[in-house]
């Protein structure tokens, strides 16, 4: 019983409340008045998912037909009757070399997803074997003061996801370390606020591509002569700079608009500046700061793909780009798998931030 309450709380907390209703359905706890609720929270989303898949399927099928007819017609015009017939049978047989290149169907995407997972398993096994093989040798090399041999094989799809997450967290951390302290200073001092205002207004709307180019210009020169791959550095700095504005603005706003009652308490207790900032101003602006951080993280994840693509830094962005260039038979399906991975991870990141935000926020009404 206790566990089920806890589960209900957790699922509600992270916004997946409908899971509880599904569980209630199976445990037979559903009351009649709950039925409407259940319908709205569980059945409707599921139905809309199926509707979406169905429309996608039909859409991709008709696109496939258009593309196939066009291909056959072209063959007929350019190479004659026989070639067109051959192409027609080739397409009908499902032979991969002659398939029309268009929006893949849900089934194809699912197939690609599984093949990416298989690929990942193979690569991981390969990597594990490599590490095992070189373990003894590496120990000797390290003892002799030489660099260890590392696995340099092709990264799998899952590896790319983790690389992307690394980049986005590094960028997010950078944004946090710049924007929160700066926001506090700007919020505390009207002078700094007017000094920085133009700066914020001008740089906030700048596009990720331009940020990337700017960071590229600077980092390239700063790291001149270094042989290390700077693409990771460039991409995480660009992501950070691109996404930090929401946190900067929200922090400044939170700090400059602390409730007058709390300021009065600080005054009556005669708190010093330091105490006032850390005991009153910051805690009371935490909810707004976290709202900013939540936006920052979702912006960071969104621009990451474009920046990785530009920077040729390993990750989902590069994966998408390479698949697009590659033009293999299942490339389009893989791109769509990546799209879903990006969407789902973005959703989860948002949920995590939302939970933290709920946790730090307080209702002022609560203390009156």
């Amino acid at each position: 019983m206790k566990a089920s309450i806890a589960l209900g709380r957790v699922t509600k907390f992270i916004g997946l409340g409908f899971l509880t209703s599904i569980k209630d359905l199976f445990t037979g706890k559903l009351e009649k008045e709950d039925f409407k609720n259940f319908l709205r929270k569980a059945v409707v989303p599921l139905a809309s998912i199926f509707l979406f898949l169905g429309m996608w399927h039909l859409g991709s099928k008709s696109l496939y037909n258009i593309e196939a007819e066009f291909k056959i017609e072209k063959a007929l015009k350019d190479q004659g009757q026989a070639a067109a017939e051959a192409l027609k049978t080739c397409i009908a047989s499902g032979e991969s070399s002659c398939q029309p290149n268009t929006l893949p169907s849900p089934a194809q995407v699912w197939e690609s997803f599984q093949s990416l997972l298989r690929d990942h398993n193979i690569i991981s096994a390969d990597k594990a074997a490599f590490i095992e093989k070189t373990a003894a040798l590496n120990e000797k090399r390290i003892a002799a003061g030489k660099d260890a041999i590392v696995y340099t094989g092709r990264p799998s799809f899952v590896d790319q996801i983790f690389r992307s997450l690394q980049t986005v967290f590094a960028g997010f951390l950078l944004a946090l370390l710049i924007a929160v302290p700066l926001g506090i200073f700007i919020g505390l001092s009207p002078t700094l606020k007017s000094a920085f205002n133009w700066f914020i207004q001008i740089f906030k709307p700048v596009s990720p591509v331009v940020w990337y180019l700017l960071v590229f210009m600077i980092v390239k020169t700063v790291l001149i002569g270094s042989t290390d791959d700077s693409s990771f550095t460039i991409s995480f700095i660009s992501v950070g700079l691109c996404s930090m504005w929401a946190t900067l603005v929200n922090t400044a706003m939170g700090v400059s608009s602390v409730d007058k009652d709390f300021i009065n308490v600080a005054k009556v207790l005669k708190l010093g500046t330091f105490q006032k900032i850390f005991k009153v101003v910051l805690p009371s602006s935490l909810p707004l700061i976290f709202t900013g951080l939540k936006i920052t993280l979702s912006v960071a994840w969104m621009v990451l793909i474009a920046i990785e693509l530009l920077a040729q830094s390993p990750g989902l962005g590069l994966f998408v780009w390479e698949e697009f260039q590659n033009g293999a038979n299942d490339s389009n399906a893989k791109i769509i798998v990546a799209m879903f991975a990006i969407g789902i991870i973005g959703f989860l990141l948002d949920r995590i931030m939302l939970s933290i935000q709920n946790w730090v926020s307080f209702d002022k009404q609560d203390a009156i």
Partner: protein, 282 residues
């Protein structure tokens, strides 16, 4: 020399056309160890008066003297219980109180802070709730935390802005006794702002009505010469209590009448007769 003295205080808010004089010509003297109550209607400027005394705002003209010296800014010598408690919602009961202890005794050790805080929390009977957040407390409990926090600074004078306004009658009575107990122990000077005449008479040595604003000013004072500790049921039967009570209420009601008749004068409706729509379309 009075302990606290207000001399010809005026306070205006706003500028230009929006300027309103909330308090005018306030004169008040409080002696050391006295318990003074000020009663007034809502919006008459009671909180403004409190903030002038504790130093959160400065008067437009006039002087506030505390122990003979002009009040400039807030001081640990004057503790305040705010009208809306103003506990910090992200701190527990203990942390809220420790904050005040720390502010008043910055050079002590952490264990001393904790002990002092525990002492004041026990004084208001909140030891069981010591680790709770304000949102987990009832209104009366929050109020008691605010009392503990104000006392924990060990102020020489304690200023209470409608401290019991939001509570039910029973809790209110209990807390009145607790506050009187605490006050009686070391006879600190106390100023109570209230909108309840009975509460003022029960608790204070002197009770002064505040004429409603704008231009609020203090009315004549009423001395309450009842023995302490006072007994509520006994008081209700006592002749002198009834007299004082009626006098104060009459004074306040008189103000109320004045206010009403003023209001009446303002709204003389112009003579208008509705148009005869029906006849127009005949």
């Amino acid at each position: 020399m009075a302990y606290l003295e207000l001399k010809n205080i005026n306070k205006t808010y706003g500028q230009g056309e929006n300027e309103t004089e909330v308090l005018s010509n306030i004169n008040l003297k409080i002696e050391e160890g006295e318990f003074v109550a000020i009663v007034g209607f809502t919006g008459s400027g009671k909180t403004t008066l409190v903030n002038l005394i504790n130093g959160l705002i400065a008067p437009t003209s006039g002087e506030v003297l505390f122990k003979g010296k002009p009040v400039v800014g807030t001081s640990h010598e004057r503790g305040v219980i705010f009208q809306n408690y103003s506990l910090l919602p992200w701190l527990t009961v203990e942390q809220n109180v420790i904050m005040a202890v720390k502010a008043a005794f910055p050079k002590r050790q952490k264990s001393v802070w904790k002990r002092k805080a525990a002492y004041y929390i026990e004084m208001v009977n909140l030891t069981p709730a010591i680790n709770k957040l304000p949102k987990e407390l009832s209104g009366g409990m929050r109020q008691r935390v605010a009392v503990a926090r104000a006392l924990a600074m060990k102020p020489d004078m304690i200023i209470m802005d409608e401290p019991l306004g939001a509570l039910d009658a029973l809790t209110r009575g209990n807390l009145q006794d607790q506050i009187l107990n605490i006050w009686g122990k070391d006879k600190r000077t106390a100023l109570l702002i209230t909108n309840d005449v009975d509460e003022g008479i029960y608790m204070a040595d002197r009770i002064i009505p505040l004429r409603p604003g704008p231009n609020a000013t203090l009315g004549p004072e009423f001395k309450i010469d009842l023995e302490r500790p006072r007994d509520k049921t006994e008081m209700n039967d006592s002749e002198s209590f009834k007299k004082t009570r009626n006098a104060i209420i009459e004074y306040l009601m008189g103000i109320g009448e004045e206010r009403k008749s003023e209001a009446k004068k303002e709204y003389v409706l112009p003579e208008l007769t509705p148009k005869d729509f029906v006849n127009q379309f005949r």
